[in-house]
């Protein structure tokens, strides 16, 4: 079941200038690290003037699904949704 939450999380994120590619690499949630796989869907929303990037992504083992939100005003990450297999 997909659960909607709104919880701050730690994210390791990199940018590859050659490939023009961004990638959340690892998320730490509830004291557990998850290595993340390929971004499955990326979209943006606006809350007023505030731009938020949403990354829908599964861990490399494909046991967990996460929807991560990056607030571009504060550069804070939130876990917006998760789902276990």
């Amino acid at each position: 079941m997909r659960e909607s939450i709104d919880e701050p999380v730690s994210v390791v994120f990199y940018y590859d200038a050659k490939a023009h590619h961004v990638q959340p690499y690892q998320v730490t949630w509830q004291n557990q690290d998850y290595r993340l796989g390929k971004i499955d869907y990326w979209h943006k929303t606006k809350q007023g003037n505030k731009l938020i990037h949403h990354f829908s992504i599964a861990d490399v083992d494909e046991n967990m699904y996460f929807k991560l939100g990056l607030d571009t005003e504060t550069l804070h990450w939130k876990l917006e949704e998760f789902m276990t297999k």
């Binding site: 997909r2 869907y41 979209h43 007023g48």
Partner: protein, 478 residues
Amino acid sequence: MSKMSNIYHPQPIRPLVDYSLCKAKPYIMHIDLNSCFATIEAQANRLIRNRPIGVAAYDTPRGFVIAANYIAKAKGVKLGVNVAEARQLAPGIVIMTPDPAKYRDAHQKFKQLLLEYTDDVHPKSIDEFVLNFAGSPALRESRFKNSDFRITMQNIALEIKEKIKERLGEAVTVNVGIGPNRFLAKYAAGFNKPDGLTLIDSDNLLDFYKNQDLVDLPGINVRYRRRLFMAGIATPLEFLAADRWVLQKQVFKSIVGYYWYLRLRGYEIDAAESKRGSIGHQYALSNKTADVDELKKLLIKLCEKTGRRLRKNELYAQGIHLYLGFAQAQNGSPRTKFDGQAITNAEYQRPNYHDRDELPASFENIHRLRAWKMGMKVDCRLNSTGDIYRAACHLLDRAVIYDKVKLISVTVFNLQPWDPEQLELFEESRSLRAGRRVSQAMDSVNNRYGEFVVTPASMMDMSGTILDRIAFGQVRDM
């Protein structure tokens, strides 16, 4: 629909009868994102890709499924079944509530991609686009160009399909239909689902009309089918063969019959874009109620959403319509009016239960006891939320509430552009402008800080109700 080959037939069957088919090149492409909401959800979450998926307005047992993927459809989950039924039909189905922002984003990415091929791109809904390639430079590009125009069009369609996978994701598939007019392009898009590509033109049109039901034709519903049956027309081929005057005078009894005569042959008559006639919002109540105060709280939020869209488009309205849909009464339970009195048999039989004298005939209550609706034209310009709300309350105060309300809808019509503004001399217009300025100020704050940051006081505690949704049909405010 039966499976048909999507490859152009080199030796088409020549008709023995001259149907006067349109010989125009198939310039029109109809692209339909397969099971849009469910497909986007499957793309976003790879854990559920091989499972049945249903997107439901609410994930409660009585919420309705508004989209299902092909796995769920194969198990009998159709649009409109409720969540409890869907779970029975497809055990293990993943039920999700809609994520409109994601679908709007997919629509925009989809549109941006299509604009790279032709500038004549018309969104028909969140998941359907019509492209006209007449005059498009894409037709002359060497990677597509072929001596056979039909193959050129199919090459373009194949590249679009590939690019959709690149930009939206590998789980996203589309059905492409190509034809000489919008109708045939849409009809073609209905074959070979999912991920189909079908071209229909005058050479193979008859093949595609064979062995099909009338309701397989886009725009022919069961009522039209009944009318056609009455005239002895039972199949698409018989429909094609029907005389123009039979269609116009006997079946459709209007010019619509002639339109069908042309449409079926591939002549374009659906290209005119309709002008926006109304803006409205509706809400299906999770807690059905007959309490007018509760309904007014919902009404203010619907009016605020309607007003926001009016102001964003710099329009005002000169008419408003209110619709209340009632929960079905249980068998044997007495129907009561809002004041608790039982509805008498005589009242039940009356064609229009409310006072008809106040209403224009066109807005009379037609769904007796299942719904109540009323519309009115107004002299003032409806633009601010307050004005729309007052007009809606004026209608609600006249409503005869037979039962608990399950659906409430507000629509404003007779839309006019605000600019240039016609200034008035009288005091009334000052208050109108003041109301508009208050709404504009609120809009500015909400544009800066997010929707519903500043709201009318009567909208307090409403943040969890009337959620963002995507309308079926045309998408003008994306």
